[in-house]
C-alpha cells in the first residue's frame, strides 16, 4: 500500500487544530506553553467561538501567543492582562475574554491586578502557566520557585531567609468570593492533557454564565530555565512541583 492510500480523510485519527496558525512555535522543545496553546485553540474551535473570543497575551515567553492562535489579541504590559480583560469584557459582554499569564506576570508584578480582577468576579478566564521560573528573561527566580531550586538569581538554591517562600497564589485566588472555578492541572501525560482541556473548556463556558472568574493553573515545565531536558523535566516536575502544588479542583461552584 502506498502512503497516499493511507493519508485519506476517512483514516484520519488526528489533525492539526484549525485555529492554530502555520507560524513556527518559538517555544523550546518540551515546553508546556505549546501544549496549552493547542488546548485553548481546540476548545475555541470546538465551541465555535472564534469570532467571539479575545485573548490577552502577557509579557513572558507567551508574549507571542498572538502569532499562534487565530483570534483577535491584545498584548498587555507585564502583569496588567487582568486589567485589560476587565475592561474588554465589561465593554463587550458578548465576548469570551481570557488572559494567558506566566508566574512572574501573574504572581509577582501583576499580583494586584489578578487579585482584584478575581475579587471583582470579572467574567473572564485566566490561564496561569506556573513553570516556577522566569523563562523569557533567562531563568531567574519566580515567586513560585521552590525552596532549594537553582535559578539564575538563586544560583545556590532558593532560601526562605534570603528570598522568601514560594507563593501559592492559586490557593489565595480560591479564597476570593469573585472566583467560581479554580483548578490546578498539568499537561505532561496524555490523561493530564485531556483533563486540562476539560478544565479549560469549563472555564470558557463559565464565562458566559455570569458566575465570576474561572482560573486554570497549569503546572508546567521550563526546560531551558530549569536546564533539564524534556523527559527528565516532566519527572522532576512530578517529583518536586506536584507535592507543593497539588493538582485538582480547589473550587467549583
Amino acid at each position: 500500500m502506498d502512503v497516499k492510500d493511507i493519508i485519506k480523510p476517512e483514516n484520519m485519527v488526528y489533525g492539526k487544530t484549525k485555529l492554530l496558525t502555520d507560524n513556527i512555535l518559538h517555544y523550546c522543545p518540551g515546553c508546556s506553553h505549546g501544549v496549552v496553546h493547542k488546548l485553548i485553540a481546540e476548545v475555541i474551535d470546538e465551541m465555535g467561538i472564534q469570532d467571539k473570543t479575545i485573548g490577552i497575551s502577557p509579557v513572558g515567553c507567551a508574549v507571542f501567543a498572538y502569532n499562534y492562535i487565530d483570534i483577535d489579541w491584545e498584548e498587555a504590559a507585564h502583569g496588567r492582562a487582568p486589567a485589560l480583560a476587565t475592561a474588554t469584557k465589561r465593554l463587550n459582554p458578548d465576548k469570551y475574554v481570557f488572559t494567558y499569564q506566566g508566574d512572574g506576570d501573574l504572581a509577582s508584578i501583576g499580583t494586584a491586578e489578578i487579585m482584584h480582577a478575581c475579587n471583582r468576579g470579572e467574567n473572564i478566564v485566566v490561564i496561569f502557566i506556573n513553570n516556577a521560573i522566569y523563562g523569557m528573561t533567562g531563568g531567574q527566580m519566580a515567586p513560585t520557585t521552590l525552596l532549594g531550586m537553582k535559578t539564575a538569581t538563586t544560583p545556590y538554591g532558593r532560601r526562605a531567609d534570603l528570598n522568601g517562600y514560594p507563593l501559592k497564589i492559586t490557593e489565595l485566588i480560591a479564597q476570593l468570593e469573585g472566583t467560581c472555578y479554580v483548578t490546578r492541572q498539568s499537561v505532561e501525560t496524555a490523561p493530564a492533557v485531556r483533563k486540562a482541556k476539560k478544565a479549560i473548556r469549563k472555564a470558557f463556558e463559565n464565562s458566559m454564565m455570569k458566575k465570576g472568574t474561572s482560573f486554570v493553573e497549569i503546572v508546567s515545565t521550563c526546560n531551558s530555565g530549569w536546564k533539564i531536558p524534556p523527559v527528565k523535566a516532566n519527572k522532576w516536575m512530578e517529583e518536586n512541583m506536584f507535592p507543593f502544588y497539588p493538582l485538582g479542583d480547589m473550587k467549583d461552584r
Binding site: 472564534q50 469570532d51 467571539k52 473570543t53 479575545i54 490577552i56 508574549v63 498572538y66 487565530d70 483570534i71 483577535d72 489579541w73 491584545e74 498584548e75 498587555a76 504590559a77 496588567r80 486589567a83 485589560l84 480583560a85 476587565t86 475592561a87 474588554t88 465589561r90 465593554l91 463587550n92 465576548k95 494586584a112 491586578e113 487579585m115 482584584h116
Partner: protein, 357 residues
C-alpha cells in the same frame, strides 16, 4: 443645545464624557479630581447611555483598563492627579506604542512626591514631552475654564481617534475645583458595534471575515520597530500642521507678551488689563494645545515684541518651549510659583515690570 448649568470643573469632565458618547471610565480616587468618578457614579450612565464606570484598584489598573477598552475600539477615559499620572506613565507608553486612542485627564497638583493637593503645573515636562519610556508624544489639551473641561472630553476623543494616540487633558487644581456656568451640548450617542468596525477596522471586535487583529507595541525586528516610530513621528508632524490651537488676548498692538496656559492664563489676562491701565501694551498668548505647541504663532508675534515672559505654576517648564520658539531674538523671562501657591495678577505684573526695566 442643552441648558446652561453651574458646575465644578471636575463635574464638567464627567458630564462631558457622558454627553460625548464615551463608552468607559476607569479611575482611582485622588484629590483634586475625585469628583469626576463621584459624579459619574451618581449619574449612573450605564442605565442611560450604557457607559461603563468602574473604580479600579490603582491608577496602574485604570490606565490598563483604558488600554483594554481602547483595544476594542471603544471611547475610554480615565482621570487622575499628579501622583496617579506617574503610575499611568507605563500604560501611556504602551497606548502610544500600540497606537490606541483614549482620553487621560491630569488635574495637576503641586509636587514632587506626595506634594500638596493645591494646584500646580509641574507635570508639563512629564505630559508634554511624553512621560513614559520611548520616543512618543500625545496630544495635550490645556483647559482654562469649566466650559473647556466639558468640551475637551469630546474634542480629546476626536483628536485621539484622528491620530490614534492618547489625548491628555492637562488641567490643574484651580480649573478642576472652580465653579462656572457651562453650556451643555447636544448628546452624541455611543458608537454602535457596526460603526466601531467601520471607524476602527484594527480593533479587537472578534475575528470574522478578516485577518485576526492584534494590538501590540512589540516588534523584535528593529526595522519593524523603526517603521512604527516613523509612523508615530509623521503623525506628530501632521498634528503640528493641522491641529495647533491657541488664543490671543490683546496681542495685536502688544510690545510685551505673557505666555500662559490653564489657570495661569486667566490670572495673566487680569495682569494684562492692569498693565494697559498703566499704558503698557501687554498681550497674552494662551496655548490650548501644549502638544503640538504653538511655535509658529510665537514666531509670528516675535517681530513686534520687546520681550516675552512665561508665567507658570512651576519652576519653569513651558518656558523651554517658548525659548525654542523665540530662538534668542528677544529676551524671554519667567515667573512662577511652586508647591501649590498661586500668584496674584499684581505679583505677575510686578515680575514683568522688574524684567523689562
Amino acid at each position: 443645545m442643552g441648558d446652561k448649568v453651574l458646575m465644578k470643573g471636575n463635574e464638567a469632565l464627567a458630564y462631558g464624557a457622558i454627553d460625548c458618547g464615551a463608552d468607559g471610565y476607569f479611575g482611582y480616587p485622588i484629590t483634586p479630581q475625585s469628583e469626576v468618578m463621584e459624579t459619574l457614579m451618581k449619574e449612573m450612565p450605564w442605565e442611560t447611555t450604557g457607559m461603563v464606570v468602574l473604580q479600579a484598584e490603582s491608577e496602574t489598573a485604570s490606565i490598563n483598563m483604558v488600554y483594554g477598552g481602547a483595544c476594542t475600539g471603544k471611547k475610554c477615559m480615565t482621570s487622575t492627579s499628579s501622583p496617579g499620572i506617574s503610575l499611568m506613565c507605563e500604560g501611556l507608553s504602551y497606548l502610544a506604542g500600540a497606537e490606541l486612542p483614549c482620553v487621560v485627564v491630569d488635574v495637576v497638583r503641586g509636587g514632587p512626591g506626595l506634594g500638596t493637593i493645591q494646584p500646580g503645573q509641574g507635570d508639563y515636562f512629564q505630559m508634554v514631552k511624553g512621560g513614559g519610556h520611548g520616543d512618543y508624544h500625545t496630544v495635550v489639551l490645556s483647559p482654562a475654564s469649566v466650559q473647556d473641561m466639558y468640551d475637551f472630553v469630546g474634542l480629546g476623543f476626536k483628536l485621539a481617534f484622528k491620530y490614534l494616540t492618547p489625548c491628555i487633558i492637562l488641567g490643574d487644581g484651580v480649573i478642576g475645583q472652580m465653579m462656572e456656568k457651562v453650556q451643555l451640548r447636544d448628546k452624541t450617542p455611543r458608537w454602535t458595534e457596526e460603526e466601531i468596525k467601520k471607524i476602527s477596522p484594527w480593533a479587537c471586535t472578534g475575528k470574522k471575515g478578516r485577518k485576526r487583529n492584534v494590538i501590540t507595541s512589540l516588534a523584535l525586528d528593529p526595522s519593524v520597530m523603526e517603521e512604527t516610530n516613523l509612523r508615530l513621528q509623521a503623525r506628530y508632524r501632521k498634528m503640528e500642521k493641522e491641529d495647533v490651537m491657541f488664543e490671543n488676548y490683546k496681542t495685536e498692538d502688544a510690545d510685551y507678551l505673557f505666555v500662559a496656559y490653564g489657570c495661569m492664563s486667566r490670572i495673566g489676562e487680569t495682569a494684562v488689563d492692569m498693565a494697559r491701565e498703566k499704558g503698557i501694551k501687554v498681550g497674552l498668548l494662551r496655548p490650548i494645545t501644549l502638544f503640538p505647541f504653538p511655535t509658529a504663532e510665537i514666531d509670528r508675534l516675535v517681530p513686534q515684541l520687546k520681550s516675552i515672559m512665561s508665567i507658570e505654576l512651576s519652576s519653569g517648564q513651558m518656558v523651554e518651549d517658548v525659548r525654542l520658539a523665540v530662538n534668542g531674538r528677544v529676551p524671554v523671562g519667567f515667573y512662577g510659583r511652586m508647591g501649590g501657591s498661586v500668584p496674584s495678577p499684581e505679583e505677575i505684573l510686578n515680575a514683568l515690570m522688574n524684567f523689562i526695566k
